[in-house]
Symmetry: C2
Subunit: 418 residues, 2 copies
């Protein structure tokens, strides 16, 4: 049978806007992969009466309720108390849960090992529940079934919520899943969202299963094909023709499928071809290097970079000639080229990326407008400069500029025209 889930996040900090409800995003992704429909997310504060009402509404429209947050001593275990009451269950002391918490504290504080008194109340759990051991923090979660409704309670911190769901709740939910929902994500760089949407609109509207939906990322678009089927093979078979059609239409603008980022694709290509990379950054200020080194294993290909945030550093560290800086200014295709060549030489890499531009909020002293950026790629025997006119905030301009640099590299490494 088909199951319907509702997520209830408990925490006044969510209603005050101090944090975003990223737990709901994490769990929604997981549930979608399990083939469980999520129809509503609800957020409620640390208030027993309002939480009780939210639970009553949820049980009237869902047969799986997953709560996040409101466990642990800070909030007097609000969620556990209210949910136990709503479903007519007592809380009982769980010796095993207490011992596991003690062990966690000893690991975290090897010198004292002492667990503070307020933590012991977390060892009380609804009678008859399946306790979820917390290897990522203190408050244990749990799951139980009552009146045909399955209830799962998870801690609020994202570093505990997601891992506990995957390791503890999924086995508990095994009986709930029916069929699979499979996603295929195609990543597009070099075409705006509205253009993609306009081109695909009629096609998307005509689709029921699989579906096709565009998601705008900063400066790029993700096209997500989603199929629901009895098993993975059937879902794959439904997705394949749609993917083929999109590849026919968008061609080399698609830089990857089921990948996280342009830089991830670049790192894979660099490793495959046994090539090394360096960077020289002005307006992106280290973002190219940071994005590359975010990736585990990047040291196999990335040798290093220079952030040259003033002309002296461009000149002295990267060897950009003073004459060039004087004649064309720091924001120019000539300087972008010299920076990439300089980084390649300094770092002894096969390839080098550079960026120079105006990230804003103000235009530069030569009157170059905010958003004008040059990115360059240097290789053995050549260099290519791309001129950009980026719109949006300082942060968006920097992100889009770094992405264009990676796009140059991706195109070069796959033999496309620059």
């Amino acid at each position: 049978m088909s199951h319907t889930a509702e997520l209830i996040a408990v925490g006044t900090e969510l209603l005050l806007g101090n944090i975003a409800n990223t737990d709901a995003q994490t769990l929604s992704k997981e549930l979608s992969a399990l083939g469980i429909n999520v129809f509503y997310h609800t957020v409620v504060g640390d208030n027993p009466e309002r939480l009780r009402r939210a639970v009553e509404i949820a049980r009237s429209r869902a047969d799986l309720i997953i709560t996040t947050g409101g466990l642990g001593p800070t909030c007097d275990d609000l969620t556990k108390n209210v949910l136990a009451e709503c479903f007519g269950k007592k809380l009982v002391y769980n010796e095993e849960a207490a011992q596991r918490m003690e062990a966690y504290f000893r690991r975290l504080h090897p010198d004292t090992g002492a667990m503070t008194e307020n933590n012991y109340q977390q060892a009380y759990l609804p009678e008859g529940c399946v306790p979820f051991q917390n290897d990522w923090g203190t408050a244990p979660g749990c799951g139980f079934v009552s009146d045909g409704v399955r209830v799962v309670m998870l801690p609020g911190p994202p570093s505990e919520c997601g891992p506990m769901f995957r390791a503890r709740a999924i086995p508990f939910l095994a009986e709930c899943t029916d069929g699979v929902i499979l996603n295929r994500s195609l990543r597009v760089f070099g075409m705006g969202e509205s253009a993609v949407e306009y081109q695909l609109r009629d096609r998307m509207n005509a689709m029921q299963n699989p579906t096709l939906a565009p998601y705008a990322k900063e400066g790029e678009v993700e096209l997500r094909i989603t199929a629901k089927a009895e098993d993975e093979d059937s879902a794959q078979a439904m997705i394949a023709p749609v993917e083929a059609e999109l590849r026919e239409l968008l061609g080399e603008l698609i830089y990857g499928a089921d990948v996280d980022s342009l830089e991830q694709v670049c790192l894979g290509l660099l490793k495959e071809k046994d090539l090394t990379l360096a960077s020289a950054e002005s307006c992106t200020g280290g973002l190219i290097a940071k994005r590359m080194t975010d990736l585990p294993g990047s040291s196999a290909a990335f040798r290093g970079g220079v952030v040259s945030y003033c002309n002296e550093v461009k000149n002295q560290a990267l060897g950009v000639s003073q004459a060039l800086l004087d004649q064309y200014g720091a924001v120019s295709p000539q300087v972008a080229q010299a920076m990439a060549e300089g980084a390649r030489k300094l770092m002894g890499s096969a390839l080098a990326l550079s960026s120079t531009g105006v990230a804003g909020p103000d235009s530069d002293e030569r009157g170059n407008p905010v958003g004008l950026v040059y990115v360059a790629l240097a290789w053995n025997g050549g260099v290519h400069v791309r001129e950009l006119h980026c719109a949006g905030s300082r942060s968006r301009i920097r992100t889009v500029a770094a992405s264009h640099a990676f796009d140059l590299l991706r195109r070069k490494l796959t033999g496309l025209s620059l």
Copy 2:
């Protein structure tokens, strides 16, 4: 009178976990500043019947309903259609809204200027509403009052939702606000959340207005004092003694009040003292430079940095001696020191920060464990190295290490012991 708001986000992409509901966070912050209570957030998919039911529940428990998303052609203006129906209003063509959309398209596409047909349906708005012009995208929002409930509809993209709320919805809501809610945020670095919480727990529990709550950030803690009062002065007067008490207790661990980050505090201090900074990064891979240059105006103090992701670059670009690298290895206090001194010399800066360590997922070739990091600060006549044992993911280790580097700088610039 006191008002109660509910936020309804419309979008299947939220229920699939493709994006987080950051609009709810943005609007909650804004509403809290206006003194409007938010008791619930609801998320519902692109489904008219389920949206209708969510609206019916919301109007039974709130007198201000703010929707985000589901406007615009991609979703057939779902939200506008359902809300108009729920409140018994017709949709009427708004010539002004159409003209403004056309102008927006001309600005975005100066060559063609053509607005695609599917955009015109966005010019239909509920009769008698106040249209909210969209200067940040295409879909206009609107507000209306019906049956004692105030309804506000905003577009979903975060780059449109927040700005439209501030510029268009706040004036529309002026009559709803009563009193003010004021926040004071103290930022703490150098003490874990559970330690802070344990120390403050009894104090926090005893407080009603103002309240005090801790929020864990990556490697740091924010303590937020919130007061509700008739006017700003009264709220300030309630906050001041709590802040004084916390400063007494936590002293120099508090690095700032109502600031965004350690690096923001550092940049302010550097500018104030007319000093310059450089960086030399190994395990943080550009994150120190990136965080510094995220800040507008950072070019006044930040000269540049080197990301030395291999030993050759540490040696050739930063002048770290090969003997040092051979004897102690790249992850050592000696190399951290030499990197900071090398960056200072290369970049001609007054101060320089460095980092070298093991960000993971694997330990290094010398067997140094994941999470071992050395950060250093060099200045005219001295250098200081701090040894760190960071827990968590690669991303967390890099973030915490960069924060420790900034904390060294902050302490040096404010005359504290290192």
